[in-house]
Symmetry: C2
Subunit: 281 residues, 2 copies
């Protein structure tokens, strides 16, 4: 389990790095980015994992969110993976759709041909990537997880299913109920097949509804009310209703005037990192 460093740039006194490695879980070569805060020169630090949305790589959040400023202040590493397996040997959507295949792994473990040989983003994020970074970088076992849109879905699902592994979870503009909306239904049918009962383990609203007696992490969600995808794909109200029924205590904030872009993420990433830092202590 080794990683090869490809880039390093200084930012806010810390190090923005890019690595390449062979992924056993995804069965291909992968790239990911890491921000190490200045504190990592002295000691191992906690990490916030960031899961990006459709069409993104590790570079969008790295260059556009401005998250390194607050992460440097708080002594948090940022772990920023890609959004799907990559490479010429990895199958892609036959029509080149933006919402399935490469750039659209949806953080599930695919069970259907031809996707099941590579598309295991759930296991990659939960197991392989933490082992890699904790073995090779000054990063300790304290983790939190966040993400945007498809990555917000991933962060909520992974946080809800692994409260022992993540101190807290947060999301910007998440797909909260993928089994009920077009993006999620298309992806889950493709990766998981027609048996909709197999979809439930990847639906944050359904997981929350069934969470009675289960330990849940602290949850923070920000959603812009001028987001073009809110009505059809994100549908925050499903999660809000489940949160109220279950009494899960998630903070769900509707932010007036904000859209789906990285300008929205940049505006509130400081809040999310402070939220995670307070739970990582």
């Amino acid at each position: 389990m080794s990683i090869t460093q490809k880039e390093e740039k200084k930012v806010f006194g810390g190090r923005q790095m890019r690595f390449e490695h062979v992924s056993d879980v995804l069965n291909c070569m992968m790239q990911f980015s890491v921000f190490l805060p200045p504190q990592a020169d002295q000691q191992s630090v906690p990490a916030v994992y960031w899961l990006s949305g459709l069409t993104c790589t590790d570079e969008n959040f790295s260059s556009k969110a401005g998250a390194q400023r607050t992460a440097a202040e708080l002594g948090l590493a940022l772990i920023i993976p890609d959004t799907s397996p990559r490479g010429d040997d990895v199958p892609d959507d036959p029509d080149g759709a933006y919402d399935f295949g490469k750039g659209a792994g949806f953080y599930v473990n695919a069970t259907q041909a031809p996707w099941e040989s590579h598309y295991h983003m759930y296991d990659y994020i939960v197991s392989e990537l933490p082992k890699l970074v904790e073995a090779n970088l000054p990063i300790n076992h304290q983790r939190a997880i966040s993400g945007h849109s498809m990555g917000g879905h991933g962060a909520l699902v992974i946080g809800l299913r692994n409260a022992e592994r993540y101190a807290s979870t947060s999301a910007f503009s998440p797909i909260v109920h993928p089994t009920a909306v077009p993006w999620g239904r298309k992806a889950f049918k493709g990766y998981l097949g027609d048996d909709v009962s197999s979809w439930e383990a990847y639906d944050a609203t359904l997981l929350l509804k069934k969470s009675a007696g289960v330990a849940l992490p602290p949850i923070l969600i920000d959603q812009g009310d001028a987001d073009n995808f809110l009505a059809e794909q994100l549908c925050t109200h499903y999660f809000t209703e489940a949160n109220e029924v279950v009494g899960a205590g998630a903070q769900i904030r509707m932010q007036p005037g904000y859209d789906h872009s990285y300008y929205f993420i940049a505006s509130f990433i400081e809040d999310h990192l402070r939220f995670h830092a307070s739970n990582l202590r």
Copy 2:
């Protein structure tokens, strides 16, 4: 003199906007971006002009520098122009070079064919663009100017030649002495011709050397010492030497470990905006 709004996104409580207009000075259609801070809803606000570097458009700084956070706090508008005239009717470098022609206007008024019919970026930045934004947006006549690399050259030259129009000038990684380095010599020869005496009005180091008795604006420069272009193209030491000889009082900071990228700009843009705000008061 009208401008047409093409985009608007909310960020840090303010408005990131994109406009299109017919430029009389550049003789083509142009786009530029503006950030209006929340304070502009109540009153007209001062503006910091940002001049970008080679290959950039108005979008690089808008999406990567994170400048809106501090601008929103300080009540500063950001005016972010393109780096050259644009469009099918505008001549470009015949070899498609990145350092001449489109994306590389060098903030001069060209005098040589075929460039002189469009490449008047100096007049566009100093005259046409301020008139446009001050006539059409809640922006007052208080101005400061900053930029990166080729745009740092532009900001220094424009600030030094127009102290009555700009409260202060600053630069990241500027080309401080273009008549002495490859990027500048190629551009000036192309746009201004073989008479090197015509180049002097666009060289910050030469302008500073000849500034005895001339009012100068406060100047702040940040330069990364791990910048790949420092030794051959940027050559900060020329400006530092002139600054000492003239006693101009420019603050010139070498920042250890930083390179030429937007990660460097993001790390110090807050300092620059606070510097400009203090001079705009």
